[in-house]
C-alpha cells in the first residue's frame, strides 16, 4: 500500500483512538458501533468475499460470544477471561459445524447458514435456564466505557488486519482460486476441505470476541439482538455494498451504511431495515461488484491511485 494512504489510515486510526477525549459520549458510542460493524463485516468478507461462500449465519458467532461472555461473568469469571472464552467458543462451534455445513454449496450454503442462525435463536429462547430465554440475560454494569471502547477499536483493527493479511497471503490466493472454480482448485492440489474449515474457524474468532465486548458494554443481550439482523445481515450488506473480496470494500461499505443508518435513526427513527433492503436491491441490480468495482467510480479510483483491490482488474470478484 502506498505511503500517502498508509499515513492517511494511521491518522484516521489515531483520530478514532482519541475520540473519548475529543468527542462527546455520542461520538464515542457511534465509534463503538462503527468498529463493531467493521469487525463483523471485515471478518464476514474473508469467507463471503474471498472464498465466495455467502455465510448468512455470520452473526451466530457474535451471538454465541455475547451469551458466553454473559454466562461466564455471571458465573464469576473475570471479564478478560470471559472475552477469551467468547472468542474460543465461537471458534470451536465454527470448527464443529464446518464439516457438515461445507457440504453445501452456493445458495444452499446461504440458506443452510441462515437456518442455523435461526435455529440458534430458537435455542436461545428455549434454553431459558442457561440463556435467560426471551427476557434475555443481564450482567452488572461497568463503571467506565473506556476499556470496552478500546477493545472494540482493537477488534476492528484486528479484523481489518486479518482481512488484509489473508488477502495478501498464499491463503488468500487459495481462497480466491477456490471461489472461482472449486474443482479446479482441488485438482491443483489445494486441500479444500481443510482450507474451508480453517478459514471458517478463523473468521469466527473476532465476531465471538466482539459479541463479548458488546455484552461487556451494554450488559444485556436477548435472542433477537444476539442473532438478529444487525449482526447477521447488516455486515453482509455492508460488504456487498462496498465490494466483497476487496480490501477497501468492507471499510467503505461499513462507514457508508453506518452513517446513513445513524442519520435515519436520529431523524426518522424508522425504516433502517427498509434502507438496508433498498441498498441490497440496488447493489444486486446495478452494482453486484460493489462500490469499489463500479465502473462509475473507476476513473475516480485511478485518478486517486487507490490501492488495487485483491481480485481482478477485469471485473467482479465476489459476484459475477
Amino acid at each position: 500500500m502506498s505511503r500517502p494512504y498508509r499515513a492517511l489510515l494511521t491518522a484516521l486510526l489515531l483520530l478514532a483512538a482519541a475520540t473519548p477525549w475529543i468527542g462527546s459520549r455520542y461520538h464515542v458510542s457511534f465509534m463503538f458501533f462503527l468498529c463493531m460493524h467493521l469487525a463483523l463485516t471485515a471478518t464476514y468478507d474473508i469467507v463471503g468475499g474471498y472464498m465466495g461462500y455467502v455465510n448468512l449465519g455470520h452473526g451466530a458467532f457474535f451471538g454465541l460470544g455475547a451469551y458466553v461472555y454473559g454466562i461466564g461473568v455471571r458465573g464469576g469469571v473475570h471479564p478478560l477471561i470471559a472475552l477469551g472464552l467468547a472468542a474460543l467458543v465461537a471458534g470451536l462451534v465454527a470448527r464443529l459445524i464446518a464439516v457438515p455445513v461445507f457440504r453445501l454449496r452456493g445458495v444452499y450454503f446461504a440458506i443452510g447458514t441462515f437456518g442455523i442462525l435461526k435455529l440458534l435463536e430458537v435455542l436461545a429462547v428455549n434454553l431459558g435456564d442457561v440463556t435467560g430465554g426471551t427476557p434475555g440475560l443481564s450482567i452488572p454494569p461497568t463503571p467506565s466505557t473506556l476499556p470496552t471502547f478500546y477493545l472494540m477499536l482493537g477488534a476492528a483493527v484486528a479484523a481489518v488486519a486479518l482481512n488484509a493479511g489473508v488477502a495478501g497471503s498464499r491463503l488468500g490466493l487459495g481462497l480466491v482460486s477456490l471461489r472461482e472454480d472449486e474443482e479446479v482448485a482441488e485438482a491443483s492440489g489445494i486441500d479444500t476441505r481443510r482450507l474451508k474449515a480453517n478459514v471458517f474457524t478463523l473468521s469466527a474468532l473476532v465476531p465471538g470476541l466482539v459479541g463479548g465486548i458488546y455484552m461487556w458494554q451494554l450488559t444485556y443481550i436477548n435472542p433477537p439482538t444476539a442473532f438478529g439482523f444487525e449482526q447477521s445481515f447488516a455486515p453482509v450488506i455492508m460488504a456487498m455494498l462496498g465490494g466483497t473480496g476487496t480490501l477497501a470494500g468492507p471499510l467503505v461499505g461499513t462507514i457508508f451504511l453506518t452513517l446513513i443508518e445513524e442519520v435515519l435513526w436520529s431523524r426518522l427513527g424508522y425504516l433502517q431495515l427498509a434502507m438496508y433492503g433498498a441498498v441490497l436491491v440496488f447493489v444486486g441490480l446495478v452494482m453486484p461488484g460493489g462500490l469499489m468495482r463500479s465502473r462509475f467510480f473507476s476513473r475516480a479510483y485511478r485518478a486517486l491511485a487507490l490501492p488495487d483491490h485483491y481480485g481482478y482488474r477485469a471485473g467482479a470478484g465476489g459476484a459475477r
Binding site: I111, K118, V122, G277, V281
Partner: protein, 288 residues
C-alpha cells in the same frame, strides 16, 4: 388415541396450508432458478389485502383469496419484470447471488415499509364458522373447507401441469431448459407466468393464514425459511413433493408441540431444513 388422531388430522390440515404456500417457491426455483427470499412477504401482503377486503368490502376469505390471487398475479409479474428480468443475462452464479441480494433486499424493504405504514401489530380476519364434531374429534369447519380448497387447487394444478400443453411446457422448461428452447418454447414468457402464478398462490394462502392465525409485518423471512424446508424435504420442483413436505413439517411440528411444548415447534422447521440440506438435498420426491 383420539388426541393423537386429532394431532395428525390437525397436522394434515396445516400441512396442506404449508404446501399451498410453498408451491410457488418450488416452481419459481425450478423454472427460473431464482431463489425468491421475499416469497413469505407476499403471503403477508396477501393476508393484508385480504384483511382490507374483509373489513372494507365485506368479502369472505374465500372470495377475498380469489381477488388477492388475481392482484398478486399481476404484482408478481410486475416484480419479476422490474427486478428480476435484468438478471437473466448473467452467469449462473451471478444470477444466483444477485437474485439472493435482490429478493432478500426486497423482503427487508417490504417488511419494514409495511410496518411503517401499517403499524407493527399483528392482525387477523375475524371470520369464524362452526365446528363439526365426530365422536371425540372436533373439526373446525373453516379448516376443513380450507383443506378441501387446497386439495382442489393442488389437484387442478397437477392436472394442468400434466395434461395441458402450456402446463407441460412449464414442466419441460424445468426439466431441460435447452430442450425447451429448441422446440420453440418462449421460456421468458413461461417464466413470467409461472412466477406470477406462484406469487398469486402464496397471496391467496396469506388470506387463509390471516383467517386461521394472524399476520404481522416481519413474519416474511422466517416463513420463507419454513417453506424452503417444505420444498427441500419434498423435492424442489415437485408438486406432490410440496404436499409431502408440508405434511412432514406440519406433523413434526405438531408432535414436537405435543411432547415437548409449543415453544419448541418453531425450531422444528429450521432443524429439518438444515438436516435435509445435509442429508438429501434433492428431497424425497425430487430430482437432483
Amino acid at each position: 388415541m383420539s388426541a393423537l388422531l386429532q394431532i395428525l388430522i390437525g397436522a394434515g390440515l396445516q400441512g396442506a396450508l404449508y404446501a399451498l404456500g410453498a408451491i410457488g417457491l418450488s416452481l419459481s426455483f425450478g423454472v427460473l432458478r431464482i431463489m425468491n427470499l421475499s416469497h413469505g412477504d407476499f403471503l403477508m401482503l396477501g393476508g393484508l389485502v385480504g384483511y382490507l377486503a374483509f373489513v372494507h368490502l365485506g368479502l369472505n376469505p374465500f372470495v377475498a383469496a380469489a381477488l388477492v390471487g388475481g392482484c398478486l398475479f399481476l404484482a408478481g409479474i410486475a416484480y419479476h419484470e422490474l427486478l428480476l428480468t435484468r438478471l437473466a443475462g448473467r452467469s449462473p452464479r451471478g444470477v444466483l447471488i444477485a437474485s439472493v441480494m435482490v429478493t432478500l433486499g426486497s423482503a427487508l424493504a417490504i417488511e419494514d415499509l409495511t410496518a411503517f405504514f401499517w403499524g407493527g401489530s399483528s392482525i387477523g380476519i375475524p371470520y369464524r364458522l362452526r365446528s363439526l364434531v365426530w365422536g371425540d374429534a372436533v373439526f373446525p369447519l373453516l379448516r376443513v373447507l380450507l383443506l378441501v380448497a387446497t386439495l382442489v387447487l393442488t389437484t387442478g394444478l397437477y392436472f394442468f401441469l400434466g395434461k395441458s400443453f402450456l402446463g407441460r411446457a412449464v414442466v419441460a422448461s424445468t426439466l431441460n431448459r435447452e430442450g425447451a428452447l429448441v422446440v420453440g418454447i418462449n421460456i421468458r414468457r413461461i417464466a413470467l407466468f409461472t412466477f406470477g402464478f406462484g406469487i398469486a398462490l402464496t397471496g391467496a394462502t396469506g388470506v387463509f393464514y390471516a383467517t386461521l392465525f394472524s399476520i404481522e409485518p416481519y413474519m416474511g423471512l422466517g416463513l420463507t425459511l419454513k417453506y424452503l424446508a417444505v420444498i427441500v424435504v419434498g423435492g424442489i420442483g415437485s408438486l406432490p413433493g410440496a404436499l409431502v413436505g408440508g405434511l412432514v413439517i406440519a406433523t413434526a411440528e405438531s408432535v414436537t408441540a405435543y411432547y415437548l411444548g409449543p415453544h419448541w415447534s418453531p425450531m422444528v422447521a429450521f432443524a429439518i431444513l438444515v438436516a435435509a440440506l445435509l442429508v438429501r438435498p434433492q428431497g424425497l420426491l425430487g430430482r437432483a
